[in-house]
């Protein structure tokens, strides 16, 4: 139960960060926090469901690896954006404005 609460708090902090921080790096970090919350939730729920044939911890580890890969790709994109647009502020990137 405590783990689920922790996961919710992490996710909430991450979401808040994504929505209010203006720096893209901070936004990306916030996304990582949200993903961390999700992973914690996975582990927490896995603990409460005993007797499952798969190893929750194994899956959680794999998720962490995927998150790391995602972060690498996102950072690469971020570098490309920063070079091209000469900014890392998210509210300057409004190319799709209608």
């Amino acid at each position: 139960m405590n783990l689920i609460a922790l996961a919710s708090v992490l996710f909430g902090i991450g979401l808040l960060g994504v929505l209010v921080r203006r720096d893209i790096v901070a936004v990306l970090a916030s996304i990582e926090v949200m993903l961390g919350g999700a992973t914690v939730l996975l582990v927490g729920l896995g603990v409460s469901v005993r007797g499952a044939s798969v190893s929750i911890e194994g899956i959680a580890l794999m998720v962490v690896v995927v998150i790391a890969a995602e972060a690498a790709v996102a950072l690469a994109l971020l570098v490309a954006v920063a070079r091209r647009m000469h900014t890392t502020r998210i509210d300057d990137l409004t190319e799709v404005k209608g």
Binding site: L19, V96, K97, G98
Partner: protein, 625 residues
């Protein structure tokens, strides 16, 4: 010649075909155009003369006195007839066909002769005009259409020809379409006659509803089966059509304006043939009018008003063609008056003589205009020396118009006076007054044009042979056609009226008095200005034809335009344009609202997504409770 008699539709088809050929021929050889085009009137003439020869002289159909009640559509045995079904709707079939009796054959001769003379005359008159081929093509088309109108054996056929000659008239009045006044006059002529045409169309609709047929024969046979009210309605509607076409009061205003067209066109269409179509139509369908006294009264009233009013309006005109135009309305008024007392043969006789002398007068005025290079009589004068042949021919025409014996107009006009005097002496008084007025304006125009000295600088010259020869040829019937009266009446199967000597004597005396008055009127230099200052109001009333144009303008044209403007602003601008433009404005407004949500800011989208998820979650939880 035989084929033109047995199949008179060739005389319709050939001119129409020639009209097409001439247009293309004009690009190859300008010289050939009049020769080829003249084949059209020649065919019509062949049909007319051939049919007259083919129709046997009628037997003894004479009545003791007065005009017999004609109950058949045909005035004699038919030279030929035939018809085809145009189209069928259920059990009802609309047929078109032809029947050539004496009435039609005489009319065809008139059309053929005048059209031929006009085509020859135009060789000189229209020489070097850029619309040469178009001009002859339209003349051909008109000849064919007029023939169709004449030989038709049903109202349907007649109506097709009726509208076609109207269209040709429109095109020829507006022949010099670069002149704004000409194109305006063309539109005016078309719209004004259209008012009459609507009347005719309504009449045909009533006939169709009552009898289910529009052939002359079944209609005349069915008169007894229709109630008198229906017959009267039909006759009055047909009379309205004839009034529009024959430029009678109150629909006469288009004819003076129609003088914007080339002068030979005025001679052919607006003096001899098309404007006479109204009289022809009524003579053709006379049994209907025989059964509708109210319609006869209408014809008599309209004819008398037109005869006197247009005669008075001709007095103060400056344009030589305008004088002739008002004179034409006046003479057509005589024909209508004769129709109004039942003397349809007399009306037709006057139609024939008038066609000859008025076509000639118009062509003579064309010769004058060509020679003096002006239409304004104030700028003419003394032309008898420069144009002696035209002068003599003009005198013959004017003599016939005024009614000097033994010229043609004397016989026909006095027969009209006789017939009206016998039935309506009071109305006949008005026509006698018109005879005086006719003498007056004829003498004034003659003196202004041909006598005295030329009033402006300019060298007038006599016209060439192509213009003088048709004039000379037309002078023969214009002078002598009066003696053909008994022959015509016999062929039409109606009692020939005897000229009553007292009436003739009085008429000639009155006419001569008018001539003398008209002659004295223009005595001395600038007599017009003196008259204008002396009879200011009356002179202006005559010059503006009693302001009827302005009356029509105020009562009909302006309200119509205003109503159209209101309709335009409400229905067109507001309802139709409003719907179309409004839907576009609505779509664009919707797009603006929608696009304002697309800020391009990722965090806005993110917030909305989060909100959406939260809402969905809340709904799911609440629903699943």
């Amino acid at each position: 010649m035989g084929v033109f008699v047995t199949a008179p539709w060739i005389s319709v088809a050939l001119p129409v075909l020639l009209a097409v050929i001439v247009v293309f021929l004009g690009r190859v050889s300008k010289v050939l155009v009049p020769w080829i085009a003249s084949l059209g009137p020649l065919a019509v003439l062949a049909t007319g003369v051939g049919s007259l020869l083919a129709i046997p002289k009628p037997g003894a159909r004479w009545f003791d006195a007065g005009f017999s009640a004609r109950v058949e559509p045909w005035t004699s045995t038919l030279a030929s007839q035939g018809q085809v079904v145009w189209f069928k709707v259920g059990a009802l079939a609309l047929t078109v066909g032809w029947s050539v009796d004496t009435l039609a054959a005489v009319m065809l001769v008139v059309v053929g002769v005048v059209a031929l003379m006009v085509m020859i005359f135009s060789v000189g008159y229209m020489h070097g005009d850029s619309g040469w081929a178009r001009y002859y093509a339209l003349l051909c088309l008109f000849t064919g259409s007029m023939t169709l109108l004449v030989i038709g054996n049903s109202f349907t056929t007649l109506f097709i020809g009726w509208e076609l000659v109207g269209a040709c008239s429109y095109l020829l009045i507006g022949f010099w379409y670069q002149k704004p006044s000409a194109s305006r006059a063309a539109v005016k002529a078309f719209l004004t006659t259209r008012v009459g045409d609507i009347g005719l169309l309504v009449g045909l609709g009533v006939l169709w509803a009552a009898l289910g047929t529009l052939g002359y024969v079944p209609v005349m046979a069915g008169i007894g089966r229709m109630s008198p009210a229906v017959v009267t309605t039909v006759a009055i509607c047909i009379a309205i059509g004839a009034i529009g076409k024959s430029a009678q009061f109150p629909l006469h205003i288009w004819l003076p304006d129609a003088m914007e067209g080339p002068t030979p066109v005025s001679a052919l269409i607006h003096a001899a043939t098309m404007v006479a179509a109204g009289v022809y139509l009524i003579a053709r369908t006379w049994p209907l009018f025989e059964a509708a006294p109210a319609a006869q009264t209408l014809l008599l009233t309209v004819g008398t008003i037109s005869a006197l009013g247009a005669g008075l309006a001709a007095i103060a005109q400056h344009d030589i063609k305008k004088v002739l135009a008002y004179s034409t309305i006046s003479q057509l008024g005589f024909m209508f008056a004769a129709l109004g007392v039942g003397a349809w043969t007399v009306a037709f006789f006057h139609l024939v003589t008038h066609a000859a002398f008025k076509a000639m007068l118009f062509l003579a005025s064309g010769s004058v205009i060509h020679g003096a290079e002006t239409q304004d009589m104030r700028e003419m004068g003394g032309l008898r020396k420069a144009m002696p042949v035209t002068f003599v021919i003009w005198l013959i025409g004017v003599g016939a118009l005024v009614g000097i014996p033994p010229l043609s107009g004397f016989f026909s006009k006095d027969l009209v006076l006789d017939s009206v005097w016998a039935k309506q002496p009071l109305v006949a008084m008005l026509l006698f007054a018109t005879v005086f007025v006719t003498g007056l304006y004829s003498a004034r125009a003659t003196r202004l044009t041909f006598f005295g000295e030329r009033r402006v600088e300019g060298h007038a010259h006599e016209s060439g042979a192509s213009m003088l020869v048709p004039l000379a040829i037309l002078a023969v019937p214009a002078a002598l056609l009066g003696f053909a009266g008994p022959w015509l009446f016999e062929r039409l199967g109606e009692l020939p009226e005897k000229l009553s000597v007292p009436i003739s004597g009085i008429a000639v005396a009155i006419a001569l008095a008018g001539v003398a008055a008209g002659w004295l009127m223009e005595a001395g230099e600038s007599a017009d200005e003196a008259l204008e200052s002396r009879f200011g109001l009356a002179w202006h009333a005559s010059q503006s034809a009693f302001g009827w144009n302005a009356v029509v303008d105020t009562l009909v044209v302006r309200p119509t335009v205003a109503a159209c403007r209101i309709l335009w602003s409400i229905v067109d601008r507001f309802l139709i344009d409003g719907t179309v433009e409004g839907s576009a404005i609505f779509a664009s407004w919707l797009g603006k609202i929608g696009s304002s949500w697309e800020t391009g800011d990722v965090q806005n989208y993110g917030a909305l997504i989060a909100l959406g998820v939260a809402v969905l979650l809340a709904v799911t939880l609440w629903m699943g409770r």
